[in-house]
């Protein structure tokens, strides 16, 4: 073997593949013309390549797929796709909002179940609604609602037959003479929006009366979030009255509402 043979043999893979640059190819060619042993080696290499290329398609297709392999591989892709879809679904901003809303609704529903057991939770929840409703839905200054109209709303929306304490100038209510105004009757979001909320005003303070239909609880009084909560049941329904923690300015008004509601 000539000293050059080793170098030439290292180029034979590319020579057989036809991937050598022109100058290198010419060099290999010159060497092979002059060197019979290398010519034999190159012949084997080119021969093998030629045969394999000629049969490549048949070799690749020679193995029939085992039954079920394709569907199992497809299934691997599908489970991955589902996962990816879920990932994308979470990452969309609109979906993030929807998910947050869903969590709030679920949590809220859970809370309404729990609050059936706990006066403190019920007071906290309804106090929050009291504050929110007065902030968002306070009727225009001086505008009041007729008690008959409020009763009609309760009947129509909730199927509730409740006597709604009407506005009072205090004189007729007697006992301390605090005027009470019925401002509004609305649907509260608590417990999936099935709770009527009656909004009153007395002496410049906000008072709320909630009616929980078909519930019966032992009477309770407690303070939560700077508000006083009174809970009592009458005629198969539970009433919840929310007043300021310092009840003095509205004491007689609260008493009036509590006594009149049934």
């Amino acid at each position: 073997m000539k000293p050059n043979c080793r170098r030439i043999c290292d180029m034979l893979a590319q020579y057989a593949d036809g991937t050598l640059a022109d100058t290198q190819r010419a060099e290999v060619q010159r060497h092979l013309d002059a060197c019979p042993p290398c010519r034999v080696v190159a012949g084997k290499e080119c021969g093998a390549r030629q045969l394999l290329r000629a049969c490549a398609d048949r070799l690749r297709g020679a193995e029939p797929l085992p039954p079920g392999l394709r569907s199992r591989c497809q299934a691997a892709g599908r489970s991955r796709n589902t996962q990816t879809t879920a990932t994308r679904w979470w990452s969309r901003p609109s979906m993030r909002f929807a998910v947050a809303a869903a969590i709030i609704i679920v949590f809220g529903a859970l809370l309404s179940v729990v609050t059936r057991q706990s006066d403190a939770l019920l007071a906290a929840q309804l106090t929050a609604d009291h504050v929110k409703c007065f902030r968002l839905f306070r009727p225009d200054e001086g505008k009041t609602m007729d008690a008959a109209q409020a009763e009609q709303i309760l009947r129509d929306r909730f199927g509730l037959d409740v006597h709604v304490p009407a506005s009072s100038n205090g004189g007729t209510a007697g006992r301390g003479g605090q005027a009470v105004a019925l401002l509004n009757a609305r649907t509260c979001l608590y417990a999936d929006g099935r709770v009527p909320h009656l909004m009153y005003e007395a002496n410049g303070h906000d008072i709320s009366l909630f009616v929980l239909e078909g519930e019966s609880r032992p009477p309770a009084e407690l303070t939560a979030f700077g508000h006083h909560t009174r809970i009592w049941s009458r005629g198969g329904n539970t009433f919840v009255l929310i007043t300021p923690a310092d009840e003095a300015p509205v004491a007689s008004a609260a008493q009036y509402v509590a006594a009149e509601a049934h």
């Binding site: 021969g47 394999l52 490549a56 070799l59 085992p66 392999l69 497809q74 990816t84 994308r88």
Partner: protein, 194 residues
């Protein structure tokens, strides 16, 4: 971390695109394992891994090469687990074996090509090659991957890929021509350059 995941339609495209390489991947797995059950296992594993890491595949690059790389990596890991390492591949002994008989081949490519048993002979000759040579020759001459792609799949330098291809081809041709050597003698110059 979520942003890199392909959109659902992308994922479906990816799945469909990947699955069109199922047959050649299985044929390649058969040459690696030489056993249908192992090959089936290996291919399924390859697809599971490919789908799991589809976010690491960048569009526009060669999906086929990427799948073959996963296939070979998976196979190497299994062999390592089975403690059947391939260290001996480039040892002197194998090199000597690959050098083979220095003599003239007993048959010409043209005549071998005419054999009715060619496909079976080729398959048998391939399966007789040492693993590392068979892998390199198969990926180059049957699958037509580039040296660089093969280097990545086999996790060896390009120079090693080229020398394995060379030796593998020579051994293969000797095996093929030897199988009829006794029957058909050929003129000396027939093995020369093509």
């Amino acid at each position: 971390m979520f942003r890199r995941s392909p959109a659902p339609s992308d994922a479906e495209d990816f799945s469909a695109e990947a699955l069109q390489f199922l047959e050649p991947l299985f044929a390649t797995a058969m040459r690696l394992t030489r056993n249908r059950a192992d090959a089936e296992d290996l291919v399924q594993d390859t697809f599971v891994k490919a789908f799991r890491h589809s976010n690491q595949f960048s569009r526009g690059t060669n999906l086929r090469a990427w799948l073959y790389t996963i296939l070979h990596n998976t196979w190497r890991n299994r062999r390592r687990d089975a403690s059947r390492d391939t260290v001996e591949v480039d040892s002197e002994q194998v090199e000597l074996a690959a050098a083979g008989p220095a003599g003239e081949p007993a048959d010409t490519p043209e005549r071998i090509l005419m054999r009715s048993t060619l496909d079976a002979d080729l398959q048998a000759a391939l399966d007789e090659l040492p693993d590392a040579f068979r892998q390199a020759v198969w990926l180059r001459d049957v699958e037509e991957f580039t040296y660089a792609e093969i280097a990545e799949m086999l996790n060896v330098p390009i120079g090693t890929v080229m020398s394995r291809i060379s030796r593998g081809r020579r051994m293969l041709f000797e095996k093929l021509s030897a199988s009829t050597a006794a029957i058909v003698p050929v003129p000396a110059e027939a093995g020369g350059r093509r």
